[in-house]
């Protein structure tokens, strides 16, 4: 037997065995990966952008987040499980809460409820906007974290003439919610690059094409198709070209603040929990040393 690279003779058992082992291992790994992979999604989904975690620990970011929340969200969406005075945890005092954040006649001890009745919003909007108290936890899944999903969703709106609201969303196609922040983000052009597998009309065989959809700032779509080399899996990528990049960048930062607030609201005790946990574990570590010592002292006599 000869080596495939330089034609030099090699001992056959050595090659076969090593190659077989590698191949078998590769097959086994591949099979295992396939078996343990989560079920394939019906349609390729976009990858979520990563939420800047550091914002969770910045009081200024959380305060900006609640300002945006009270001004833009808390009208259609409620936060019925969250009390206003819990905002003291992010450094606001009761006067700031009642003077700058509460618009109606609620008291600081009340929860962030809204006047819009669920039955009315269902009739008027087609769907009751969900309560946002625990939304950051509820939207976490095995594929992505809730924070990343919200950060991507709120920055994923684009003009689309084909939908009832005139808006669409890359993270949640045909979303019922319009783009409430459109003035803060400014007009944008969206480009979707999709790899699509579909049946050819002529030959009825499977065809793989790259489909590039450019949707301008007014929501007019322009699709171009090109052929693809090889057989890549179905996928979708999206990119945006803002008319005013500075404004859009500021908006990205604002959304990060808003998501930080939503995350805080979904578990207001989280920061205190981690702080307390450090002390509890330190205590238990010391306890473990003493109990180990005690155990050893007693068992010394057992022969």
């Amino acid at each position: 037997m000869q080596s495939l690279i330089d034609g030099s003779p090699i001992e056959p058992w050595c090659v076969d065995f090593e190659m077989m082992k590698t191949k078998l291992l590769a097959v086994a790994v591949f099979a295992l990966a396939a078996v343990f992979a989560r079920g394939a999604l019906a349609e390729a989904a976009i990858t979520m952008d990563i939420f800047p975690e550091a914002r969770l620990h910045e009081p200024a970011a959380l305060q900006n987040g609640v300002r945006l929340f009270a001004n833009y969200c808390l009208n259609c969406h409620s936060a019925n499980l969250m009390r206003w005075n819990r905002l003291r945890d992010i450094g606001l005092d009761e006067h700031q809460i009642s003077d700058f954040l509460i618009f109606g006649n609620q008291k600081v001890g009340d929860t962030m409820s809204i006047a819009l009745r669920p039955a009315d919003s269902k009739a008027w909007l087609g769907k009751t906007p969900p309560d946002l108290s625990v939304i950051a936890r509820a939207r976490t899944s095995s594929e992505y974290r809730g924070t990343d999903y919200l950060y991507t969703l709120l920055r994923g709106f684009y003009r689309d003439r084909s939908t009832p609201t005139g808006w669409n969303n890359s993270a949640y196609p045909t979303i019922a919610m319009p783009h409430v922040f459109w003035e803060r983000q400014g007009p944008r052009e969206a480009t979707f690059t999709r790899i699509v597998h579909r049946e050819s009309e002529k030959t009825h065989s499977e065809q793989v094409v790259r489909e590039v959809t450019v949707i301008d700032a007014d929501g007019n779509a322009n699709v171009t198709e090109s052929s693809v080399f090889g057989d890549p899996p179905e996928s979708v990528e999206v990119s945006f070209k803002p008319a005013d990049p500075k404004r859009a960048a500021q908006f990205d930062s604002d959304v990060a603040d808003l998501v930080a607030f939503l995350t805080f609201m979904s578990e207001p005790s989280a920061a205190g929990r981690v702080r307390m946990g450090v002390w509890v574990l330190l205590f238990l570590a010391v306890l473990a040393v003493f109990t180990w010592w005690l155990n050893r002292a007693y068992w010394k006599d057992i022969k």
Binding site: R273, M276, T291, W299
Partner: protein
């Protein structure tokens, strides 16, 4: 009436004179209960399971003070506990983590029994009580899981209660009776609350007491599978035994502190445990009109959920072949004619209801049967195992290999159960289901095969 003459002084003497049982029981179960001195780390999980039970009861009492078993308020009241009740989040996370910790301890405790033959004569009754504890624990966890009234609570309960609907003749009425409504509703929530906070915990506590009394009557097994009561000293106490208190109490207290480090690391730093201890979908309030796309039970039920899902129309043929093969094996094994006829007849009847058109029952029903059987089959272990020795230490290596294979089967079924159904996984689950059942059903044959090592008369002990 004259008082009992006490050996103690002071207050203890006063109590002992009036209630001698107290100190008698203390001696019997703690200071003069002689346990083998060669216990290893596998022997800590029984005590840790009791700790988990205590955590669940104490945290449960406090949760019940603030929780509202009402479909309109249940979800909100849990979040009220998390936000407005001082320390409520801490109590709730201990309870949700405690449930998983309880199952981890119980599964490891059961593995220990399989490893050292702890279920063997004379400890069959301890094992049976233990299996009943396992069953009650499953019921307790299932009832408790509905209470937060999230999407997964609601739809998980819907799926499991609907399973009872698959039972022929009485099924639909039975499911209706369990729910108290045509769908999971307020009536269901109220009765599940009642079962979760009083009925099942009472049963569980009674069974734990029975489990421990039965254990202390015959004495503990040990990693060598040697009966320490066979070798008594001049004082009538086992030579290889040491008093449970203080030796094993200090031992268990050390391992308890290690357990608490792990437990509280989860409670404080990862209470959701990546969605395995607290499922993310359960932060969405129950919506009877719209189910989640993928319904999965909590991790401790997933091996059995996989077995349920594996039972499809096609799988019935494999199951029928397995049943028939097993019946033939029994016919060739039994010596008495009535036993042979009975096993073959039962096998044929089962096959009739599995695959023969006109007689066959819904595969969903067989799924329920298989799921139930795979839990209940643990009860038969003391009689399936025919090995001449108890402990794995003196059994052939093939037995250890089979036990490890069973553990792998169990874990892979568990992993598959957390994932959405998919063809290649379903086929593998079907194979694994047969392997799971085969491990137990073929044990009377494989447990006698191979070369056994001689069991020593005394335990092996290396002083620490």
């Amino acid at each position: 009436m004259a008082l009992h003459k006490s050996e103690y002084q002071g207050l203890l003497g006063w109590v002992d004179a009036r209630m001698p049982t107290l100190m008698a029981e203390y001696k019997k179960h703690l200071s003069e209960y002689y346990a083998p001195k060669n216990f290893n780390i596998w022997y800590v999980f029984g005590g840790l399971a009791i700790t988990a039970l205590a955590i669940q009861i104490v945290t449960g009492i406090f949760l019940a003070m603030h929780y509202k078993p009402d479909a309109r308020f249940a979800f909100e009241s849990v979040e009220y506990i998390m936000r407005d009740v001082p320390g409520g989040w801490f109590i709730r996370y201990m309870h949700s983590t405690g449930a998983s910790a309880f199952f981890i301890c119980v599964y490891l405790h059961m593995y220990r029994a399989l490893l050292y033959g702890s279920y063997r004569r004379p400890r069959e009754l301890i094992w049976l009580f233990g299996c009943l504890i396992f069953l009650s624990l499953m019921a307790e966890a299932f009832f408790g899981y509905l209470l937060p009234w999230g999407q997964m609570s609601y739809w998980g309960a819907q799926v499991i209660v609907n399973l009872f609907g698959a039972i022929p003749l009485i099924g639909p009425d039975l499911a209706l009776w369990i729910r108290g409504d045509y769908v999971i509703g307020d009536a269901t929530l109220n009765r599940f609350f009642s079962f979760h906070v009083i009925a099942i915990p009472l049963v569980l506590l009674g069974l734990v007491v029975a489990h421990i009394i039965a254990l202390h009557d015959v004495g503990s097994n040990n990693p060598d599978g040697v009966e320490i009561k066979d070798t008594l000293g001049a004082d009538g106490k086992p030579l290889d035994g040491i008093a449970f208190h203080p030796y094993y109490t200090v031992h268990d207290v050390f391992w308890l502190s290690v357990f608490l480090i792990l437990f509280f690391a989860i409670v404080f730093f990862a209470p959701e445990m990546g969605g395995y201890f607290l499922e993310f979908n359960n932060f969405i309030p129950a919506d009877p009109l719209q189910g989640p796309t993928h319904i999965a039970p909590v991790w401790y039920f997933t091996p059995y959920y996989s077995i349920l899902r594996a039972t499809t129309e096609v799988f019935m043929y494999a199951l029928a072949a397995f049943t028939l093969g097993y019946a033939v094996l029994l016919v060739f094994t039994f010596r008495s004619t009535p036993a042979r006829v009975a096993s073959f007849a039962i096998g044929l009847a089962l096959v009739l209801f599995m695959v023969v058109p006109g007689f066959k029952l819904d595969p969903k029903f067989w799924g329920v049967v298989l799921m139930g059987a795979s839990v209940l089959i643990f009860f038969g272990l003391p009689w399936f195992d025919r090995a001449p020795v108890k402990s794995m230490r003196y059994r052939p290596a093939s037995h250890m290999a089979l036990l490890l294979a069973f553990v792998v089967v169990f874990l892979v079924l568990g992993a598959f159960g957390t994932m959405p159904p998919e063809d290649s996984r379903n086929v593998m689950s079907q194979v694994l289901t047969l392997l799971y059942l085969g491990f137990f059903l073929l044990m009377p044959w494989w447990s006698r095969m191979g070369t056994f090592k001689p069991v020593p008369a005394r335990i092996k002990f290396r002083p620490h």
